[in-house]
């Protein structure tokens, strides 16, 4: 078994004969030095990545070289393989970010399709150690900016990067910053707010980002503060995330001690402070004007815009509000340049997006993919396919503001505009995969129940409209639906969308409208045939005992809470449908699969 490998590959389109010569030469040279058997020479697939002719890698030492020629082979074999001195000539440093990540995780299937910019340090550094973060190029962007860039340069770099807000709306970040920068403040005070009030059901990107790499948020906020001209920042974080809160508090403390926050940061005259504000369990506070109200200590209700917060926000001062993920991307853009960032992604959506992959897939967890990756790749390659070999039914993106995307749209590339076209939206990044055991009416009901509960009650369409829609859905799942219910739902939904005050109301009907668009026949089945094909809607299920399988053990009879099962011991039992409350206890108890749902 060889101890080391030399991998050779050529750039796509480059001469094959030249590569063969190099391979032969390397083998010959190794044989001359009696290294055959210790070092293996292998070819690998054509490389699309670097435009520099032949590439060579030494594994497991992770040394990479470009522009390989005979002389370099000599040097590598003589100096490195024999004398252990690393050859620096033509050694190639690919983007450090990519490199670092693949060094650690490149071997895993789950990670192969991923590209980690936002989560570049998650799982690699110790989130409670500032030294670790600094070793991973932390605060380098801040230092570069403070020494070499003016606020407008920072904004220009953000413009080049094409970064759009990752909270869901997709508003270009640089425009927010420009508005904040230009806005006049009477007192001279401006604020930066980091929105970590991630409330979408099925989303946990912000929690994981903060838990895994809290310093990058701090650095991002400080950079935003410099660009906008703010010296005070708030992180508004949910009380449901105790660990994230602890890590962030620790990170802020350490950053202050090391002069990355506070007065005269890194010896310049830039001051920036960050304070934490905890939410108290209100989803609507993720809406920016509601969030501001909450920081001001009021009820978290939204207000009409304009004026936008970047003109008149917290305490009446210009305020720039960015999502956690957006801010975590900022140090990358400043350090590696907007052009580097803009290389990744699609025409209109640049960079990467973090998704919280959950539901019925084999691999669940946090993933980060370049924009433009298709939903199919996410579910079947990264997610490892549907769990328990069941059939894919739909994928829900965008949480309560998004929608369910059916199988026909699996090849949709992930970017802001394509998802809207498919009837859903990017949202903050929740991605819930559903198999054929899921009832779409029930799912719609769940999301509507959520928004109805979380509606702040300020404007009528949202407060009353969602309630009425929920009542109709409730009726349908109980088998009391009427034929014109679908039309009523659609009409109400459109009205709520048009007339609500804030994003919560305007998007609340989305899950149900898309469900109606793609899974209409399921709604009709519930209404006309009183059937739920996924056996989820309890009131529509009927339990039956199969004659040939029942041995009359009486286990179901004893379990039944309403005594509606009758039958002599060792004889066929029957269920009295008029008394049955459809609790399913008998179904779970029967060891002989004699009870079925239908």
């Amino acid at each position: 078994m060889e101890e080391k490998y030399i991998l050779l590959s050529k750039n796509f389109g480059y001469q094959q004969s030249k590569l063969n010569e190099i391979v032969e030469y390397t083998k010959k040279k190794l044989a001359e030095k009696n290294l055959t058997g210790k070092v293996a020479v292998k070819l690998r697939l054509d490389n699309y990545y670097i435009n520099e002719q032949i590439l060579l890698s030494i594994l497991p030492d992770k040394l990479h070289y470009t522009k390989v020629d005979f002389k370099l082979i000599d040097e590598i074999i003589d100096d490195y393989l024999i004398n252990g001195k690393i050859v620096e000539r033509n050694r190639f440093q690919c983007d450090e970010l990519l490199n670092r990540f693949f060094e650690n995780f490149g071997d895993y299937n789950y990670f192969n399709k991923q590209l980690r910019l936002t989560l570049r340090n998650c799982g690699i550094i110790d989130p409670e150690s500032i030294d670790d973060y600094i070793l991973a190029d932390g605060f380098k962007a801040l230092a570069k900016m403070l020494t070499k860039m003016k606020p407008l340069d920072v904004i220009e770099e953000m413009r080049k990067s094409g970064l759009r807000g990752r909270g869901g709306g997709g508003y270009p970040t640089y425009i927010k910053w420009t508005n904040g920068h230009r806005a006049k403040s009477e007192t001279g005070q401006k604020y930066i707010i980091c929105n970590a009030d991630e409330g979408d059901p099925g989303a946990f990107m912000d929690r994981s980002t903060i838990e895994g790499d809290p310093f990058s948020i701090i650095e991002g906020m400080a950079i935003a503060g410099y660009a906008v001209g703010a010296d005070k920042g708030y992180v508004y974080i949910r009380a449901e995330y105790p660990l994230a809160i602890k890590r962030l508090e620790n990170a802020i403390k350490l950053a202050k001690e090391n002069n990355f926050l506070g007065k005269n940061i890194l010896g310049t005259n830039f001051n920036f402070e960050i304070d934490l504000r905890l939410g108290a369990g209100a989803f609507v506070c993720g809406e920016e004007t509601a969030l501001i109200a909450s920081i001001e200590g009021r009820r978290g209700t939204p207000r009409p815009r304009p004026p936008y917060p970047s003109i008149k926000g917290l305490f009446g001062c210009p305020t720039v509000i960015n999502n956690v993920e957006t801010l975590a991307n900022v140090p990358v853009i400043i350090l590696d340049g907007g052009d580097f960032f803009a290389r990744i992604g699609t025409e209109q959506s640049k960079g990467t997006k973090v998704f919280a992959l959950a539901g019925k897939v084999n691999n669940t967890g946090l993933i980060e993919i370049p924009m433009g990756t298709t939903i199919r790749e996410i579910i079947y390659n990264i997610g490892g396919g549907i769990a328990n070999n069941r059939k894919f039914k739909a994928v829900q993106t965008g949480g309560p503001s998004g929608g369910c995307i059916p199988e026909d749209f699996l090849d949709t590339p992930i970017d802001y505009d394509s998802l809207i076209h498919a009837g859903s939206m990017m949202g903050s990044g929740g991605m819930i995969v559903m198999d054929d055991n899921t009832c779409m009416v029930d799912v719609s009901k769940f999301f509507l129940d959520f928004t109805q509960n979380e509606s702040c009650g300020k404007c009528t369409p949202c407060r009353e409209g969602t309630k009425r829609m929920l009542e109709i859905l409730q009726r349908i799942t109980e088998g009391k639906g009427e034929l014109d219910d679908i039309e009523k739902l659609e009409r109400l939904g459109e009205t709520i969308k048009l007339s609500s005050l804030c994003g919560l109301g305007q998007s609340a009907p989305n899950p149900i409208l898309t469900a109606l668009r793609y899974f209409r026949e399921e709604f009709e089945e519930h209404i006309k045939d009183k059937k739920c094909r996924a056996h989820i809607c309890k009131k529509l299920i009927e339990y039956f005992i199969l004659e040939d399988k029942c041995i009359g053990c009486g286990a179901c009879k004893r379990k039944c809470p309403v005594n509606c099962i009758s039958g002599e011991p060792k004889k066929l039992h029957t269920i009295d449908q008029s008394k049955c409350i459809k609790c399913g206890a008998c179904f779970e108890t029967c060891k002989f699969n004699a009870i079925i749902q239908r």
Partner: protein, 165 residues
């Protein structure tokens, strides 16, 4: 005696309000701390806060009732919040709820007679990849199954509130 207790309460609240500063904008943080301290915000507490901040009690009440993590009614020593979100639901949240209900003899929204446990639903707490999940006060438990839940609850009932893995 009663008056004496009232005075203590007023002084305690005053010192907490002063810690954060006598400003309107600190109301939410003050209420959060008082909620942790007294387990719920009684009318008396709310009125004291209002007079310290010189705002109307109705305004304080409005804020206190808006946020679901602030209680205006007494709750158990340990508040169990089970995630009701769709992913936990797909992963069998109902079984967890049934087990807790049976174990404690209460329904969702109720408090046990000994004042130890309150059972509630909560919205997503971001543990979707490891659901079903629940929060007991500030500790998160995930990958739950009925047996594990019973174990955790028994541990709390015995008075230990450290994490069970």
């Amino acid at each position: 005696m009663f008056r004496y207790q009232e005075e203590i309460l007023a002084n305690e609240i005053k010192s907490i309000v002063e810690k954060y500063g006598n400003k309107r904008e600190n109301l939410l943080r003050i209420l959060q701390e008082l909620n942790d301290k007294y387990n719920y915000l009684s009318e008396q507490v709310l009125q004291n806060v209002a007079s310290c901040l010189k705002i109307s009690p109705s305004e304080v009440y409005g804020v206190a009732t808006f946020y679901s993590f602030l209680n205006t009614k007494p709750k158990g020593k340990y508040v169990i919040r089970v995630c009701k979100t769709i992913v936990c639901d797909l992963n069998g949240k109902d079984k967890i709820i049934n087990t807790i209900e049976n174990e404690l003899g209460i329904k969702v929204g109720e408090t046990t007679k000994d004042g130890l446990f309150t059972l509630e639903y909560t919205n997503c707490m971001g543990m979707c990849n490891q659901g079903p999940a629940m929060l007991i006060n500030n500790d998160i438990y995930y990958n739950l199954d009925p047996e594990k839940v019973v174990e955790i609850i028994e541990k709390y009932a015995r008075g230990g509130d450290s994490n069970v893995d």
